[in-house]
Every structure is written in C-alpha cells, then in structure tokens.
C-alpha cells in the first residue's frame, strides 16, 4: 500500500482548494483592457538585484536546507523573509503550498505538503516541506536545488485540516501521504489531551523519528507504524481497525493515502454510517484514458461544464460557449488559455500535456482526461 509521490500528481482535496491557490498565483486577466504603467516583472527585476526575496506580488522563498530523511524522502526547509513578505502570512496544519521551479527553461508548479506546524513557522519564519523523490520537480529539488536558491511559492491552501473543536482523532496514512498528517498530529496533541491514534503503512517510514518523539512526549498518542513489503503487503480492513482503534466511532478520522486505501476506508466508514466523521485527501495520479471518447471539461471562470469529444474549441462551441479564437489551426495564439488541471493532446504535434497551470491553445488540443480551464 504505497502512495504515489506528491510530484506528478494532482491534489484531489475536498472543496475547491486548487481554485483558491490558482486565483492568487496565476495571471488572472480582468475583462476590461488596462495597460500597465510599469511592468511588474521590471520592478521585480530591479528589486531582486537588492534582495532576491523582494517582489511586488509574487511570494518568494529561499532554500535554507535540503535533508534526506529516508531513502526516498527529502525535507526541504524554506525561509520566507516573513517579516517583510506579508503575502505569506500563515497556514493551517495539513495544508500545502504550490512551489515553482524552473527546469531546462520551463517553469513547473507542484503542490507540497507543509510538515512543520504554523506555530513553528511563526517562531522561525521557516517552512518545511516533505518531498518524495519521484518525478521531475521532486528529483530536481532533491538532487539539483542548492541552499540559497530562491523559488517562487504560492500561499498555502487546501482544506484538509483539523476540525475547529478538539476531538479524539484517528489518522490513517500510507507512504508519502504521511506528510500533511505529521503537523496535524502535532497540533492535535498540543491543543488537547484527547486521544490521537495513527495507523501508518509504509515500506520505508518517513518521519519515524518525529513521530516517535511525539509518542514519547504525549501519552495520549498511540503510534502504529506498519512496515510492509512488496512480498508481504499489508491491507487495512475492519479487523485491523477494531484491533488498533476500537472506539473509531467516537473519533474524527483523517485519511491521506493512495486511492486504494482511500476507497477501502471510505467503504468501511460508509458501512458503519460514519461518513460525516471522515476527512480525506489524496495524491491522485492523473488518469489518462487515451481511447475515451468524451471528457468532462470545466470552464472555471464561466462556471460551465461540458463534454468534449476531440477538439476543445469545437466542443466548447458545440456546448454553446464562445471562447475567443482566431485561426483555428494553432498559429495565431488568440485562443490561448491556462489549463488548470487535466491532460490534453496536441492534435498537431501529438504531444501530451499533463501539467497543471500551463498555457494551451484550445483550437489544436483535445482533452484526454477531465480538464479544468481558466476561462
């Protein structure tokens, strides 16, 4: 039971957490034309000569430390210059930040869970993210990024967090799904003496030391790390639940893992009628079904959803939408828009684009998964 890495994955959290992030981090274009007096990137360019963390509207962070915690996990510490940089105020345990790195001339944006607590951030001005070494951006962070590099981040978002009221809690996690859970457990332990249980499946448990330190310091913390292997995989079921946490019915449950474990827990909680006491977050790899005929496309700003068969522009028009277009052959750039998430195939070049927050031309792209577009 191993969760895929955070990189190369979309965040499929409850609610519209991606929306919150993206409106603030990408270039939202107002309807009315408004020429700028001074280009923002020009001002940023001048400011960066004085201090690379100084910018007009973007949020920058400096890499303070990169540390291997387990074979395939890296802990990256970032400083945000939080006294000057008021844009990054704080976050809630369980949330993530969007991190932008430039690799071979291309800017890539990925979500990473924060593994330190907000209290710790307030004291030190440091953000700590957990990075699983898998995928282009995470590998870059683990292997090529250097202490002192300055990266762009977007303010924290995500709705996977503790309930307002302190309650007894059960955390279920697997693999790199542990990252958002570490600060949540710490916060739950610090704010009340109510029991906290963690069931954590992993072949190579990350944050074992942090978790064991917490278990030693807080008697109400019941830590269960289940080390499994490819030959002997462990599965979560009702028996395991009853053995480790017989009073699950009285607890608020938080699950972050790969789809298999998410489905398993959801089914169990549904069968007991406890669904409203469970919060889930998962790293889901994009499912690309290349043979699929129709895909669901969401035009976020116009709040319209439609089924696209093949060409995105033609499908949008067939659905009664009127996106701006020009040549309809991929040369004039009039129909360029931001693809927030999902995969598309360029019908001219055959290239598949599965990245979030990138520019695509509607007239030469077809959806090959569910797609969200900033239009």
């Amino acid at each position: 039971m191993k969760a895929p890495a955070a990189a190369n994955c979309t965040w499929q959290a409850k609610g519209n957490d991606m929306q919150a992030t993206l409106t603030s981090s990408t270039n939202y274009q107002p309807a009315a034309y408004k020429p700028h007096w001074v280009r923002e990137d020009f001002v940023d360019f001048v400011l960066a000569k004085i201090n690379p963390l100084w910018t007009v509207t973007r949020t920058m962070a400096r890499v303070e430390n990169i540390e291997y915690i387990e074979d395939d996990m890296v802990k990256v510490t970032l400083s945000t210059n939080h006294l000057l940089n008021r844009r990054f105020k704080t976050f809630k345990a369980g949330q993530f930040i969007m991190l932008t790195v430039t690799i071979a001339g291309v800017r890539h944006q990925r979500a990473y869970s924060l593994v330190n607590t907000p209290e710790n951030y307030a004291k030190t001005g440091r953000l700590v993210i957990g990075v699983k070494r898998q995928g282009r951006v995470s590998n870059y962070l683990a292997k090529q990024a250097k202490i002192g590099d300055v990266l762009e981040i977007a303010p924290a978002s995500g709705e996977f967090m503790l309930t307002e009221e302190a309650t007894p809690a059960l955390f279920i996690s697997a693999g790199s799904g542990i990252t958002p859970i570490v600060p949540m457990i710490q916060q739950a332990l610090e704010r009340s003496k109510l029991p906290v249980t963690l069931i954590y499946y992993s072949r190579d448990p990350a944050f074992r030391m942090e978790l064991e330190t917490l278990a030693a310091a807080y008697p109400q913390f019941d830590l269960n790390i289940i080390v499994d292997s490819a030959e002997k995989p462990a599965f979560f079921d009702v028996e395991t639940l009853e053995r480790i946490c017989p009073d699950a019915a009285t607890r608020e449950t938080y699950v972050c893992a790969a789809p298999g474990l998410m489905t398993a827990t959801r089914k169990i909680w549904e069968s007991f009628g406890w669904s409203d006491k469970m919060r889930q977050e998962s790293f889901l790899p994009i499912k690309v079904d290349e043979n699929a005929e129709a895909q669901l496309v969401n035009f976020r700003r116009s709040q319209r959803e439609f089924e696209a068969k093949g060409n995105l522009l033609a499908s949008a028009e067939a659905a009664g939408l009127t996106p701006t277009y020009g040549c309809r052959m991929g040369v004039c750039n009039a129909c360029v828009c931001t693809k927030v998430s999902g995969s598309v195939r360029n019908q001219v070049t055959g290239e598949i684009n599965d990245q979030n927050n990138v520019q695509i031309k509607l007239c030469v792209n077809a959806a090959i998964s569910e797609v969200v577009i900033d239009l």
Partner: protein, 397 residues
C-alpha cells in the same frame, strides 16, 4: 494548388506543383517544424531572457543619460539612438515574438503571449487581432489582410485605383513616421469612414483600448519622463521623440520589406478549401527575407526571416536562422522561388511597388509602352529611355 488558385496569381519564378507535390512539400515543412520543436528548451529560454535584459539595461542607461547629460549634444545623440534601439528590440525581438506565444512553453507569466503588452501605442489585444489573427491567417489575401496598404496605400494592381492613391508615396512616408500610431488605429478601420462606408461613431466605438493605451504611451514618453527630468525637460522630450521616430522608421522598413517587395504575391480570397500545405505555400509566396548579419537579424526581431516567421509564427524566432537554409533547400527541390535579397534590394522593390501603384494600371502600361518605344531610338536618348523602361518594369503588373 492550381485547382484552387488561378495560375496567373503565382509568380512566374515558381513552378506550378501537382496536388501530390503540394502535399509532399507540406510534409517536408512539417517535418522540419517538428525536428526544430524537439530542440527547443533551456537555450531558447536563456536567449529570450538575455534579450529582455538587453532591453532593460539599454532603457535604464539611455534614459539616465538623457536625464543627467541630455544637454551635452554627443550624449544626447548617443542616448536617443540607444533608447531607439532599446525600443526596436523591445518591439520586434521581445514584444512581437512573445505575443505570438513563441515562449508560452516556458510557462512564465511575464513571457506569456496572452498577457504581454509592449512599449508601443498599439494595445496588445488589438495587435493580437489585427496581426496574429488577421494578418497571419490571411497573409496577403486581398480584402481580408488589412496589412496590405493598411487601408491607406494601394499595393497591388488588383486593388481598385482611387484618385487619393496618387498620394501613395507621401502617404507611405506619413505611415512610416507615425507607424506606431497608425498600427494602433488599424483595428478601427478609419478608412471606412473616409470612404463613407461607416459612420464615425461606429468606427470610433472600437477605440476603447486604443484610447487607454495611447494615453499611457503619450503620457509616459512625452509627459512623465520629461517632467521627472525637471530642467532637462526639453532634451528628454526631444530624445524620446527621436527614439520613437527611429523605431517607427525601422519597424516600417522591415515590415514592408517582409511583404511588399517586387516578387511577393497577393491572393484572392479563395481559402475555403486551402490545405495546411497550401497555406505554407501561400506564406512562402507572400513573404520575403533579407540577408544580413547577426546584429541585423537581432535588430529586425528575426523578421529578416519573414518566410520562416510566417511558416512557423509560434516557433521561437531565434531558431529561424537555422531553419532558413532548410526551408530554402526544400523550396529549391520543389522549384519554388525563395524570395530573399539585401535590405537595399528589397527596399528598392518596396518603393517601386508603392510608386507604381499610385497610378492606374492603364496609365502605367501606357507609360511603359511609350518608354519602350522611345528606347528603340538610337543614340544617347535611346540609352536613357532604355534605362527608364528597365526601371519601370515591374513583375506583378
């Protein structure tokens, strides 16, 4: 090809291709595009950032020099010319290319075609309509591509002659001097009002972004910077006027050399069934290149490779220099004329085209006949007329 366009519309320098050959030509061009696209990466990103830094440093340096040393004539001259060069590069190699989406793949919002707005009067959004869409899709198609004469010039014998075309040359001169302003107004189609086709209110109703952008550009160069300079008001004002003028003249020259040289062809609106391969051929026949060195290419925004730019408008322009020999090779294989020459040669063709079309076709023909007749005379008179007749020869007419 020949089934879609009357043969006469094609330059006599190119062979008429069979439909199979046309398709093969398209495949070869596509293959070149794909091979080049596969190479695009870090190098191109570095290039465009270097261009942007060049624009920034030259702008900061020239504006500071004008502000603090503008009263010293050599400093004023150097600073004004540098500011002009800075504006040329911002306009042509940075703004024009970024707004084509050539660097969208970098995913950098500040280098993104949809957001970018350049340092010239024409608003980014108007430009994307008149240039990226109308001009690049309908290149040299009469009645659709508004760049043919920009509504004020007569550029081909297929355009109906009007008495106002007698002023073709002075009109072109005006267009050259105030190029950024006329480009900014292009989307409004002011000539529709002049020709009585549309009321003034309708023409002006599309001028919203023009008004905003024009106010900003005017205020910035002619009010804010001079006022900031205090006692240096006049040298800074004069420097800014000069820089914009330099940029206008240069941009006009390069753009006209790209589409209105002698061998460039115009097309009838017959595009319903045009294939991608035929579109490539039209781009080839509707554009012309200029031969020059590295600095020249840089200052033209690589529009010295107008043919490549028109075939691959969204390919980073710094790649045209390596694509051009390949395109030329493919053209040679298919017997297609690859229109290129020195800046002087192409510019001469442009001036000739503008001059000849200021007169009705019939008048030009009768002048030519007269000159040819006179050229047959013996002695010095005959020689003079022979020269004149040669000068009046003009391919498309």
């Amino acid at each position: 090809m020949s089934t879609l366009y009357p043969e006469a519309r094609f330059n006599r320098k190119s062979r008429v291709l069979s439909p199979e050959e046309v398709a093969e030509f398209g495949r070869r061009i596509d293959a070149l595009r794909d091979a080049t696209r596969a190479k695009i990466g870090e190098q191109d990103a570095k290039y465009i950032y270097r261009v942007r830094n060049f624009v920034r440093y030259t702008e900061i340096a020239s504006r500071s020099a004008l502000m603090f040393g503008g009263w010293i004539p050599p400093v004023w001259l150097l600073a004004s010319v540098t500011l002009g060069v800075s504006k040329i590069v911002e306009n042509m190699e940075l703004g024009h290319n970024v707004m084509h989406g050539q660097f969208d793949w970098m995913n950098d919002p500040s280098m993104n075609g949809a957001n970018y707005d350049w340092d010239t009067v024409c608003s980014g959004e108007d430009w994307k309509h008149t240039h990226n869409f109308m001009h690049h899709t309908y290149t040299n198609v009469l009645g659709v591509d508004h760049d043919i004469g920009y509504g004020v010039l007569r550029m081909t014998d297929s355009q109906e002659w009007k008495p106002r075309n007698l002023a073709n040359l002075p009109m072109a001169f005006t267009l050259m001097v105030g190029f950024e302003w006329l480009l900014a107004l292009q989307n409004l189609h002011l000539e529709d009002f002049l020709d009585g086709k549309a009321p003034l209110t309708k023409v002006l109703s599309k001028g919203g972004s023009f008004a905003k952008k024009a106010t900003r550009q005017f205020t910035k160069d002619y009010v804010v910077f001079p006022v900031l300079a205090g006692p240096m008001f006049l040298p800074v004002l004069a420097g800014n006027v000069t820089a914009n003028l330099i940029r206008n003249v240069w941009a006009f020259s390069i753009i006209f050399c790209g589409h209105f040289t002698e061998d460039v062809e115009m097309f009838e609106n017959n595009l319903d069934k045009e294939t991608k391969a035929e579109w490539y051929l039209r781009q080839l026949k509707g554009s012309s290149n200029m031969i020059g060195g590295k600095v020249f290419n840089f200052l033209t925004g690589n529009l010295s490779f107008q043919i490549e730019h028109h075939m691959f408008p969204d390919m980073p322009a710094n790649r045209y220099v390596e694509m051009a020999p390949e395109v030329q090779k493919i053209c040679a294989e298919f017997g297609q004329h690859y229109n290129t020459g020195s800046f002087a040669k192409q510019m001469t063709g442009v001036v000739k085209r503008i001059a000849i079309h200021s007169l009705p076709n019939e008048t030009v023909k009768s002048i030519r006949t007269t000159l040819n007749l006179q050229a047959e005379k013996k002695g010095i008179t005959g020689k003079v007329f022979k020269r004149l007749a040669k000068a009046a020869e003009y391919a498309p007419l």
